[in-house]
């Protein structure tokens, strides 16, 4: 019993070191800037989701297409709706879709990848084929075909994006599992009578956490871009809900009279994606052992 307990103490050591590396990630310049950008974006989105500020859907035709002013910080659109409120609400929509899709993709993909890598055999081959098939479509095209197939709502858009990114997580998780399943501490845990499955999740999962976190951050930025592209094409989050891609689409024909309609959602989109990419950069530098040498 005490031997088993000792075995469990061993992985604690790298955990404390790992937490030090987490802090390091936020000390790199890109990590700090990314963190600040994401904090701003998240606060704006949360305020919009909580209903603080102007109503993003309230129309007022007498105030249509006005430039930025004290009452409308980023101006109004063709229906007189406040663009600042719509940008914040659009950010909330982007984050909601990105979080749901990446969570589903990460959990599903990691589960499939770990099981395939650990048990191998027919399961591994079937997962391999499914991964290859999903990779055979350009990602936006697959998301588009899926989103067009399902009934249009923000949730179906999130699911379509999740299916596209699921194979990436399966691949990311499978590789390390192939080497880890022969690692001594995994064999030791099995030897002291732990079931294979609990060994898998207690010892293997923490070891791929670093790669996963980087992958999740980058996937969040891709998911935001994919949702925006789908909404721009008219297959994303349905109106009247505000979506950044849909706002850019609506602004296109009005750029000569109301350029702020294009620049406001565009800037919000870039800030969110740049923020996530910088955050991913900082995390990669701190968590990826190969990145440490550069």
């Amino acid at each position: 019993m005490s031997a088993a307990a000792d075995m469990h103490e061993v992985p604690q050591v790298p955990t404390t070191r790992a937490s030090g590396r987490w802090v390091k990630a936020f000390r790199t310049p890109s990590g700090i800037v990314g963190l600040v950008l994401m904090a701003v974006v998240t606060v704006l989105a949360l305020l919009a989701a909580a209903g603080v500020g102007q109503d993003p859907a309230a129309q007022n035709v007498s105030e249509a297409l006005q430039g930025p002013s004290a009452s409308h910080w980023l101006g109004t659109d063709q229906f007189g709706r406040d663009i600042f409120a719509r940008v914040c609400s659009g950010l909330a929509n982007s984050l909601r879709v990105a979080l749901v899709s990446v969570t589903v993709a990460a959990i599903g993909g990691v589960l499939l990848g770990i099981l395939a890598g650990y048990y191998q055999g027919i399961l591994d081959r079937v997962v391999g084929v499914i991964t290859n098939v999903l990779f055979a479509f350009p990602s936006l095209l697959l998301a588009l075909a899926l989103a067009a197939t399902l009934r249009r709502s923000w949730l179906t858009v999130a699911i379509a994006i999740a299916v596209v990114y699921l194979p990436i997580f399966a691949r990311v998780a499978r590789g390390p599992v192939l080497t880890l399943r022969h690692a001594e501490y995994v064999l030791a845990a099995t030897a002291v009578g732990r079931s294979r499955l609990s060994t898998l999740f207690e010892h293997v999962l923490p070891n791929i956490l670093g790669i996963l976190v980087v992958q999740i951050t980058l996937s969040l930025s891709w998911a935001i871009l994919t949702e925006a592209a789908l909404s721009f094409l008219g297959f994303g989050t349905p109106p009247p809900a505000a979506s950044l891609g849909g706002m850019v689409y609506a602004a296109q024909s009005l750029t000569s009279v109301a350029p702020w309609m294009l620049y406001a959602p565009g800037a919000a989109l870039i800030l969110a994606v740049v923020g996530l990419n910088l955050l991913g950069d900082g995390l990669r530098a701190a968590l990826d052992p190969r990145g440490a040498n550069q």
């Binding site: 027919i122 081959r125 079937v126 084929v129 499914i130 290859n132 098939v133 999903l134 055979a136 479509f137 350009p138 990602s139 936006l140 095209l141 588009l144 075909a145 899926l146 067009a148 197939t149 399902l150 009934r151 930025s221 871009l225 925006a228 592209a229 721009f232 094409l233 008219g234 297959f235 891609g245 850019v248 602004a251 296109q252 750029t255 000569s256 350029p259 294009l262 620049y263 565009g266 989109l269 870039i270 994606v273 740049v274 990419n277 910088l278 950069d281 550069q294």
Partner: protein, 338 residues
């Protein structure tokens, strides 16, 4: 259900192919063939579960007024009451013999529509790759020349920002700026193919190719930078230096030539992506390419068009990736030895 059976059957098939043809290219080809079977199943299933089947799509709201007998007759006509497996095999048989279906709106066959749209997309993809390489390779060389220094950080930051700007936004900003300030917008006129009017065609292709080129430059830049840094520390470069080779000759013949191998692979991957992923840019600049054919099909609820076109794109994607792999083996003798 049928899909899973076919998958595992095909899986054991590819395994046997892999066992017989030990050659890695043969194994990759077997894998690609298996992937294509999966792709055809997914494409088929995806568009058969669309809410509102082909009958509602073809007849619109009038479909609700059909009598049960009429509905049955139509179902028999479209073959939707047959088992899914025989529908799939019938469709696949048609596809393999070049029958990709017919558009109900234009009465054109999908094959002839694709024959018209594909060259436009390929032209756009080639131009975008040229621009992407023109921006990415020098940028990567510049970044790698002083790693960690200002020029490296600036080019890394630029590529991170370029990666973060969605192509549709860049396209919308660039085109609105051109129209509003200098009033030049060649895409406003009807599209002309390269053979019809080369001068106008190239003007119309310029902006979309630039937007796509900018969006694929960052991965090319990163690949070039990483490859140069790796090659620079190779033994043969040190040997060349020791022999007295230096300057441009060392940079170009010993470092760049070897560093370009992964860049070729990355360009191949990007080219495959551009064949299907250019649909947003094609839509904005009204380029009648294969991506726009999918979008138009979705708008008009022409699922036969969407289904076949998506399949064509996926097949090309798989083939381009396979070809990239083969080219990689040809240009890098080390891979062949392994």
């Amino acid at each position: 259900m049928e899909g899973v059976g076919l998958l595992s059957a095909a899986s054991s098939l590819s395994h046997r192919v892999g066992a017989v043809g030990r050659h890695p290219v043969a194994r990759r080809a077997g894998e690609a063939a298996l992937t294509l079977i999966g792709v055809s199943i997914l494409t088929f299933v995806l568009l058969r579960v669309v809410p509102g089947d082909q009958i509602t799509a073809a007849y619109g709201t009038a479909a609700g007024d059909l009598s049960p007998e009429q509905l049955q007759a139509l179902e028999a006509y479209y073959g939707v009451n047959e088992p899914l497996l025989s529908q799939y095999l019938g469709w696949l048989g048609g596809v393999l013999t070049g029958n990709l279906g017919v558009s109900a709106t234009s009465q054109l066959s999908v094959l002839s529509m694709t024959a018209q749209s594909l060259p436009n997309t390929v032209e756009l993809a080639v131009l975008a790759i040229v621009i992407g390489l023109g921006l990415g390779v020098p940028g990567g060389m510049l970044a790698a020349s002083r790693p960690g220094k200002a020029r490296d950080q600036i080019s890394q930051l630029t590529s991170l920002i370029a990666l973060s700007v969605p192509s549709f936004l860049l396209a919308a900003v660039v085109s609105s700026w051109l129209v509003n300030t200098i009033g030049w917008y060649p895409n406003g006129e009807g599209y002309r193919t390269l053979s019809e009017d080369p001068a106008l065609n190239l003007q119309q292709m310029l902006l979309p190719a630039l937007v796509l080129g900018i969006s694929i430059a960052p991965p090319i830049l990163q690949t070039t930078r990483a490859a140069i840094l790796t090659v620079r520390s190779e033994d043969y470069v040190r040997t060349a230096r020791a022999k007295g080779v230096s300057g441009r000759r060392l940079q170009v013949r010993h470092i760049l030539r070897n560093a370009l191998i992964p860049v070729v692979t990355m360009s191949g991957l990007q080219f495959g992506f551009l064949l299907g992923g250019a649909l947003v840019v094609e839509q904005i600049f009204a380029i009648p390419g294969i991506g726009r054919q999918v979008l138009l099909g979705l708008e008009q609820k022409e699922y036969a068009v969407v289904q076949s076109t998506v399949l064509v794109i996926a097949v090309m994607f798989v083939l381009v990736n396979l070809l990239t792999d083969v080219i990689y083996r040809l240009v890098d003798p080390r891979v062949r030895v392994q």
